[in-house]
Symmetry: C2
């Protein structure tokens, strides 16, 4: 780390210019950098470490659920994309196409996967023969590409990393149940691992996945009251099974089509974490995914015994499973405080000669930006307890914001006022496309998810009886 | 699993038709399947689980060495490939090119990364400013594409998964040392994790990486005496630093170019494991990477208490960190024995009413195909000990084969005889390209690595004084 570098934060005002705040934070904390090709991002070590933590936690949940990881090819024959009519309509405009390889033009162009339902459907068609082969529940962690006009690091990039789970079942009921189960898995993950409350529910026909019977989404509320879609699960019915001949001989001897579903979350989750929890000082990282959970800053570093005490504390924390680090660089303590606050490290421990003498450590909580003192003895248990408290507090704070910022509306004007004020707006909808489009043109808001129960009386646009109660919001 | 399916192994004879044996094994054990595009492979769960184990073990070594993971873009501007002259010459014929995206032709074609020296060099050029930024040691786990004419699952596929590490240093000496260190890391990994002895050494100019100053390789000997390159490390000097302006202000205030190196291993390692250890019954998996380390086969499964005892044993093994599983399918014990032997599971435990009564378990070792009996008490420790023994034995067996099958030669005829007999041939070489080419045309063998010491007297081709002693072999 640079010696005695003057710490200049220069993060834009989070209230006055949230988009610039976001850009400043992701660049200055070295989470990402821009790639040479417009719309691409380079995930730097600090950002990638967050992704690795997300992967590890989520992969454990999948394995516990009995899902197996596999790996399917990056390139998909162009002809596969057209086998499911809605699918190609939805994705064709966004794909990157390989036309030449090995020095020659390809007979058939190959598409870089925007998502893998087609190629996985094809392989499932090969592998599935009998009811005994079902269910088949696979997942892959990989990169996909979707050519985007407007891009922002983590939120929308032409290439991103994700997991895509794909399962095939013998019955619609089982596939629908898994679609719901994976939505719950995501919701619990968002809470337990990202300390992030989410709204879940079914998407409208307009918003659903191209080729699905039904899509379910998970929406998180960002600092500015806008929504970020943070995960989706899709029930495909027999659409892809029929397109790719995923058939099985059932117990009664009849040949039947399977029922498929899929589900995915991506590096966009990192963006969700940044914008849900961040503050003016920068990142505020949820302890379960923070690359560094506790940073130890030596005070009067050159004094005898200080560094040694810091390293001893670091070792004991690591042994207890805490991701701890000592910042022993030449920078001043003040510089270090600013740097690690900006980087969102949940706990900062300051250790100087006086602390050591008194058997205490000064502890700073990043979530509430408050200092306190804790005994050095039993530090590991104390720090673990503190990390858990911080995580719970971060969740409560975000849940409170979400609660306070969901308003109802009965007219378009009220809806507009609601989203202008940085809220989600719960309103009735007659179910027709024209009214849904009208909300878009009038208020630049989209239907995020439909509520489980239709409690509204009338459509917020046309006044006819409400068929679905919808959460509308401006979204990233 | 299918009920009472007649087990038909039909694996080709390993001695008479090793290529067909390999294909039969990878397909029938469901490690892989062929993708719809020629030359691509689909890694099925059993194969991917081996890769996950390899990744986990190797990533831990990298992290312990202080290397940080990051993620760089898949697509590289065509112009980047030409910045390092030798690099483009070596890789241009093999790349897949994206010419269209988002519905329009791209201004500049983009290459799917065959390897990432160029784009990582570009980003390093951005990030590195001062000697304090060095060394910068990064790695990524990702997919790459190299369009190949002949492909074989794991050994050579147009898309494969790998890790590529890239480091930049302030001095040639440091970069060269890291090049050597990573070769050692690979060698130890091959031994400890894959139970596979390897030959390491410097590659000839002809065989080195396109753009490197020097390449070091790790060669494993397969069952048939042919070589499989299993990993490489490259010292790039300032080639890529100059091509991509990776400069730093040194302590003396002068602006200097960095020195880079890179290193990589891929899913090819799975092929190495298959062909090094496999036998007529199928796979023989090294315990450290076997997805299932101990499979428990119930005998007289329907008898009271048998399944329960099996599950209890499974649980105790898992708690001790052993990857254990119970095969409680409807198939016969004989079918299960064949299946799990073919799948290369290191230990098979048979548990029936008599075993349980006597407090013992029948244990089958896959490496030597021998049965024995062990007490059920302290089963976890016994099984762990057995797995370690099996790993050590597998290594010894492969090391013995390698030792016995390295012969020397003083003439081309002797060399030909050596490789025809399934050996590596150690011989002298004058260092000239013509003689190296002649070994290729005459004996279809290539220089795998150069020995550390030149012990041979004369070049095996032309008789002039030997400058390098070389290990020649036929290779995959």
């Amino acid at each position: 780390m640079a010696k005695n570098e003057q710490f200049v934060s220069q993060i834009a005002d989070i209230e006055a210019d949230f988009p610039q705040w976001y850009t400043d934070v992701v660049i200055k904390t070295k989470l990402v950098d821009y790639g040479p090709v417009k719309g691409t991002m380079v995930i730097r070590p600090y950002g990638y470490a967050i992704w690795e933590n997300i992967q590890r936690e989520m992969d454990a949940l999948f394995k516990a659920a009995g899902v197996e990881n596999a790996y399917f090819p990056l390139l998909i024959p162009m002809s596969f994309m057209t086998k499911e009519a809605e699918h190609v309509e939805g994705f064709a405009p966004e794909v990157a196409v390989v036309t030449h390889a090995g020095g020659a033009k390809l007979e058939e162009p190959l598409v870089v996967r925007p998502t893998s339902e087609t190629i996985i459907g094809h392989m499932m068609g090969k592998w599935v023969e009998s009811w005994r082969d079902l269910p088949l529940r696979l997942n892959q962690w990989c990169n996909v590409m979707r050519w985007e006009k407007t891009t922002r690091p983590f939120l929308r990039t032409s290439e991103f990393l994700w997991q895509e789970g794909h399962s095939v079942y013998a019955s619609a009921e089982e596939a629908e149940r898994e679609t719901e189960n994976m939505l719950r898995l995501y919701e619990n993950f968002a809470k337990d691992v990202l300390c992030m409350p989410v709204l879940t529910g079914k998407k409208t026909e307009k918003e659903k996945f191209a080729g699905a019977v039904a899509t379910y989404g998970m929406e998180a509320m960002m600092h500015d009251g806008k929504s970020l879609q943070s995960g989706t699960t899709h029930y495909m019915g027999q659409n892809f099974a029929k397109a790719f001949n995923v058939q099985f001989t059932d117990r009664d001897g009849a040949l039947k089509y399977g029922y498929t579903m899929s589900y995915g979350v991506s590096t966009r989750l990192i963006g969700a974490v940044i914008m849900t929890h961040g503050d003016q000082r920068g990142l505020v990282l949820p302890p379960p995914v923070a690359p560094v959970q506790a940073v130890i800053v030596p005070i009067a570093q050159k004094k005898e015994g200080v560094l040694a005490a810091c390293r001893e504390l670091e070792a004991s924390l690591k042994e207890a499973g805490v991701r701890a680090a000592v910042d022993d660089s030449d920078n001043s303590p003040g510089w270090k405080f600013n740097e690690w606050e900006m980087k969102g490290v949940p706990v900062r421990i300051e250790l100087g000669p006086r602390d050591i003498e008194n058997g205490v450590m000064t502890v700073f909580r990043r979530d509430v930006c408050e200092k306190g003192e804790l005994p050095l003895e039993d530090a590991p248990e104390a720090v673990k307890g503190l990390l858990a408290e911080i995580g719970a507090n971060m969740y409560e704070k975000a849940a409170k914001r979400m609660q306070e910022r969901v308003v109802t509306a009965e007219t378009l004007e009220e809806l507009l006022g609601g989203v202008n004020g940085g809220n989600f707006v719960k309103a009735g909808w007659c179910g027709c496309r024209e009214c849904e489009d009208k909300v878009k043109t009038f208020a630049q808001a989209t239907a995020r998810v439909m509520a489980d129960e239709n409690t509204a009386q009338n459509c917020v646009v046309c006044g006819k009886p409400s068929v679905h109660t919808v959460f509308f919001a401006r979204a990233y």
